[in-house]
């Protein structure tokens, strides 16, 4: 039996959109496989542990996003953990701040943590709000991913970056990337780092993504059927077709 530590970063700051539920989904699905697991809450101002397995950052408002970015930069713990192979799921404002640059609280560009090659800008286009449906980039025949997006920024992936998926409906990153033609990427994957605009929470609506993140640090998982989870996820996928 392996032991996992999940760090939930600053959910008081970046908890506006329910993303803290991602941690609960991971714990629930890990325990069902007899993987023992604990959540460590890191509050603003507390040091970020460097030896945990999975780190989670959620979405929030501009001011709290700027505060979280400065704390993570000063602390350095998250960057160290990712460099040594930890998994990270960063959603919305969290996704933006792990990129190379983003609009700060005053609208001027600030440097991000640089964990993924992606930069976020504001355009004059309206806010991206609504259901988001995405084909996974690694396997376009796999189940689609679904979520709810609510963001102003558009995120440009650098050349050679791997998106999490391609937008079927909705906005996702909102900008095409080099070589993608008219297809719009959603999110980013860099090793064990995943960025996305999908709320829901994303791991509740997409159990397969939760298992991918778990198995990236815990190895192969025993099969597990959670009827309520599967019915919920299937219903959200079906909402796209209806």
């Amino acid at each position: 039996m392996s032991k996992l530590t999940i760090v939930r970063l600053y959910h008081e700051l970046l908890g506006t959109y329910g993303d803290q539920g991602n941690a609960e989904v991971l714990v629930h699905r890990a325990k069902a496989r007899n993987v023992s697991v604990k959540i460590v809450e890191v509050a603003p101002g507390q040091p970020v542990p460097t030896s945990a397995d999975i780190y989670l950052i959620g979405g929030g408002e501009d001011g709290p996003q700027a505060a979280a970015l400065e704390m993570l930069r000063t602390d350095g713990g998250l960057t160290t953990a990712v460099a040594s192979g930890a998994a990270l799921l960063a959603v919305c404002a969290g996704f933006q701040l792990i990129g190379t640059s983003l609009p700060g609280a005053d609208g001027n560009t600030v440097e991000g943590l640089g964990l993924v090659d992606a930069h976020t800008i504001y355009t004059d286009d309206p806010r991206c709000v609504g259901e988001l449906y995405v084909t996974p980039a690694t396997d376009e025949s796999a189940l689609i991913l679904t979520g709810f997006e609510n963001h102003q920024g558009r995120t440009q992936l650098g050349p050679g970056s791997q998106p999490l998926g391609w937008v079927i409906s909705g906005h996702g990153n909102g900008l095409p990337m080099e070589g993608s033609g008219a297809r719009i990427p959603e999110g980013v994957v860099n090793g064990r780092v995943v960025g996305t605009y999908m709320h829901g929470p994303v791991l509740a609506r997409n159990p397969q993504l939760a298992d991918q993140i778990l198995s990236s640090v815990a190895g192969s998982l025993t099969p597990f059927t959670d009827q309520l989870a599967d019915e919920f996820a299937a219903e959200r996928r079906a909402a796209f077709r209806s």
């Binding site: 001011g63 505060a67 829901g200 919920f232």
Partner: protein, 376 residues
């Protein structure tokens, strides 16, 4: 909301179509009060209208059906144009424009928390909108100063009456709405190096008051400011009588006490009042409910442990899965009547999101409404 409430809004639309400046004309020379905030607008508006009617010799017009946008407000103003006092519930996003058009004497600000993120946007967006608009000396703002967003909203206003309920940690205010630094919440109340929240409150109310109790205090202060005589027993009377969005539906031999909950804060309030062994949760995600259901994960459902819980509504699977992850046994039912049919206790309670509640109030399921108190 009732059928009559919708008719009320249509009348207002006609008035505004005929004369876009109608609002200002209808408001001229009258004492207008606007009531706004995320939760408690309808209750507080009703409280204040009642205190003014009882405590003055003047007549009072008020929004009785929670129609809190432009057209609904126009209808109230036009129906009895000689009534001196007009107490209006006002949608948060419309408040600056209504202040501009109606020149209210008093604005009562109850609270600001997350609500309908897809429409209203983030809390700070509303707070900023208010802050930019709330300048000058013409309006007296009555605020719950324990809410940092409200303190920020009125920080450039000339006249502010601050009421404190002893401080209460705000779940959405980790950082300062004014300077973005981390707020210090270590002493139940907040403090910030920028000085937000240092202005002392003129009114210190009981820390133990419930939501309706706090609303009653704010309504009483507004009524006093407008010259009403307010007996000391009023606050307790109002709090006791608050319908607080509980409706009882008789379904067969059983009564289902149903509460309306619209956002994380009102879900927490409703859950804290659950006493029945069997509970129905009904969740939709139509526009006014908030289209994003992620907030379900921000609510702690621990009070439901050990009770029978049935989930229904269009997003029953969202809420059922969320509860199951918290270790609560749930079942799913296709509709409200089916949910009631699976319950066998005499006492059943239900919590419903906005449109799920409306569907029940419209008696679309053949339920009999046994008591009044439906509002929005």
């Amino acid at each position: 909301m009732t059928g009559r409430g919708r008719g009320e809004t249509i009348a207002g639309r006609v008035i505004l179509a005929v004369d876009p400046n109608a609002l200002g004309k209808l408001a001229a020379g009258r004492d207008i009060v606007l009531v706004s905030g995320t939760n408690g607008k309808t209750t507080t508006t009703a409280f204040l209208a009642r205190i003014l009617a009882d405590g003055t010799d003047e007549r009072v017009s008020t929004s009785e059906f929670g129609a809190n946008m432009l057209a609904g407000i126009a209808t109230v103003l036009s129906s009895k144009p000689r009534n001196r006092y007009v107490v209006l519930e006002c949608d948060e996003l419309y408040l600056p424009a209504m202040c501009e058009a109606l020149k209210p004497k008093v604005v009562v600000l109850l609270n600001l928390s997350r609500d309908q993120l897809h429409r209203t946007g983030e809390v700070r967006k509303v707070a900023n909108l208010w802050h930019k608009s709330f300048v000058g000396d013409d309006i007296t703002y009555i605020i719950n100063r324990d809410d940092p967003f409200l303190e920020f909203a009125v920080s450039d206003a000339g006249h502010v009456l601050r009421v404190t309920f002893g401080g209460r940690k705000h779940p959405d205010a980790a950082t300062c709405p004014s300077c973005s630094e981390l707020l210090d919440w270590s002493k139940a109340d907040y403090s910030c190096p920028c000085g937000l929240g240092t202005q002392s409150a003129q009114v210190r109310a009981d820390q133990r008051l419930s939501g309706p109790g706090r609303n009653a205090v704010l309504a009483i202060e507004a009524a006093r400011l407008l010259g009403a005589v307010v007996p000391v027993t009023v606050q307790a009377d109002l709090t006791e009588s608050a319908p607080d969005r509980v409706s009882t539906y008789a379904v067969g031999t059983r009564n289902v006490d149903t509460r309306l909950a619209k956002n994380p804060e009102s879900w927490r309030e409703c859950l804290s009042q659950v006493t029945a062994p069997q509970v129905i949760l009904s969740v939709n995600a139509r526009g006014i409910d908030g289209r994003d259901t992620s907030w379900l994960w921000d609510v702690d459902y621990n009070v439901l442990q050990g009770r029978k819980v049935v989930c229904t509504g269009e997003r029953r699977r969202d809420v059922a899965y969320r509860l199951s992850v918290q270790g609560i046994d749930v079942t799913v039912a296709d509709d409200f009547a089916a949910a009631v049919a699976t319950c066998d206790s005499r006492l059943i309670e239900a919590i419903a999101s906005y449109t799920a509640f409306q569907d029940l109030a419209a008696i679309g399921l053949g339920l009999t409404k046994a008591a009044t108190g439906v509002d929005r």
